[in-house]
């Protein structure tokens, strides 16, 4: 639901579960336009900066454009996969448009930021109608909201896992790029386990680490930077992670074990010197349990061994 963004116009645009968009004139208290033809729930409404174009995103994976100055005549309908070239990584599901927002820049033109149910954040150049930037893996869970701060030229995306991702719009001669500048955890649903990432110097002394690793009712492992509040998300498990253990040894990367509801144990290596979102990497996956893994722990002296209980 959104008002037509011109003061005193008193027109309200609503999208309902009947898969229709209705435009209401609140001065005469009447519906003046009804837009039909959507094949999935309407998830997002946006107006262009000149207020002339209404852009609609829906669960049918299509983005529709209407001319608000011409009684909402349909201008175009674009399929995000076929027309805009956003790849669908989901094997068992169609790509859906969950959120969108309109971005205009003085030099580079008009763009549309699109968030999908596959956790993709795409920047579509409206002149070519193709994707010019795609964040495909990092956000992972469904994007539920996108908004753009024009004064700071920053784009924000929120995913279903309640993380907030901040991107800076970089305008270059070659085009436009989104640079990720922060990733924050807004809310942790049932924090299940947490471990501080202890590190040992070559002389065996523990060094201060600014990282903690945690799991919170999700298949995503979260590496939390306690100084900045940034969170890095690591994917691998197919179900909720239930337990974590870490092991530090002088002069070597810290190892991390995770056990999950997908009946597997994963071994990760942690290197704080690596760049954002590359500090943890999965070394191995251990299978064999037939039930949830409820506990994992390294042998205290020989980290070549660990125990898991399921």
């Amino acid at each position: 639901m959104q008002f037509y963004p011109v003061k005193d116009s008193l027109r309200l645009i609503t999208a309902g579960e009947d898969l229709c968009i209705r435009v209401w004139d609140l001065v005469i208290n009447k519906e003046v336009v009804c837009l039909r033809g959507f094949m999935g729930r309407i998830t997002s409404l946006a107006f262009s900066n000149d207020h002339k174009t209404l852009i609609v995103g829906a669960k049918d994976g299509r983005i529709s454009f209407y001319n608000a100055a011409d009684n909402y005549r349909q201008i175009a309908v674009m399929d995000v996969v076929k027309d805009m070239n956003i790849p669908n990584p989901l094997s068992d599901q169609d790509l859906e448009v969950n959120a969108l927002c309109y971005i205009t820049t003085t030099k580079q033109g008009l763009f549309l930021a699109v968030g999908t149910n596959a956790g993709q954040l795409a920047l579509v150049d409206l002149r070519t109608q193709k994707v010019c930037f795609l964040e495909a893996e990092f956000i992972a869970s469904e994007i539920v909201h996108i908004f753009y701060d024009e004064s700071e030229q920053r784009l924000f995306a929120v995913n279903q896992d309640q993380n907030l991702f901040t991107y800076e719009l970089k305008l270059k001669k070659s085009g436009v790029k989104l640079n990720k500048v922060a990733s924050k955890c807004l809310f942790l649903d049932e924090l299940i386990d947490i471990k501080f990432m202890k590190q040992l110097n070559s002389d065996g002394h523990a060094s201060e680490s600014k990282y903690a690793i945690m799991c919170s009712n999700s298949e995503t492992l979260k590496l939390y930077n306690m100084m900045t509040g940034d969170v890095e998300l690591y994917h691998g498990h197919d179900d909720i992670i239930l337990c974590i253990d870490t092991h530090a040894r002088p002069g070597e990367p810290t190892l991390v074990l995770t056990g999950a509801k997908d009946n597997t144990v994963r071994l990760w290596t942690f290197d704080p010197e690596r760049k954002f979102q590359h500090r943890l990497s999965c070394l191995a996956v251990f299978k064999g349990h037939t039930e949830n893994i409820s506990g994992v722990c390294f042998a205290p002296k020989k980290r070549e061994f660990f125990a898991s209980v399921g």
Partner: protein
């Protein structure tokens, strides 16, 4: 209320035994309207955004009949708030006068 740069919560609107459903911030960024599960709508004056933030005042409080206010938005002048309720109706209120 969240500081978007640090992701730190600077303050909250909280009422005992009242669960919020949805909210909308007015375009003038001075008002925030919240719908609650007890069918109440409160419109707050946002005031200064600083540490230990809390709304300056409640400028209006009214009921959406016996229906849940599921979705809401302000008009561009920040005077009116439209509220979609669980009976598939949309009602438009004067945000400050509450009718």
């Amino acid at each position: 209320m969240l500081d978007i740069n640090s992701a730190i919560v600077i303050g909250k609107i909280a009422h005992e035994n009242e669960e919020p459903i949805n909210f909308a911030v007015a375009p003038n960024q001075r008002l925030i309207a919240v719908t609650y599960k007890n069918h109440l709508v409160r419109v707050y004056s946002i005031g200064d955004l600083k540490e230990n933030w809390k709304p300056e005042s409640v400028v209006a409080a009214f009921k959406t009949g016996n229906m849940l206010g599921l979705e809401l938005c302000f008009d561009p002048s920040s005077r009116y708030v439209a509220i979609a309720t669980s009976d598939s109706q949309i009602k438009v209120y004067d945000a400050v006068k509450g009718f």
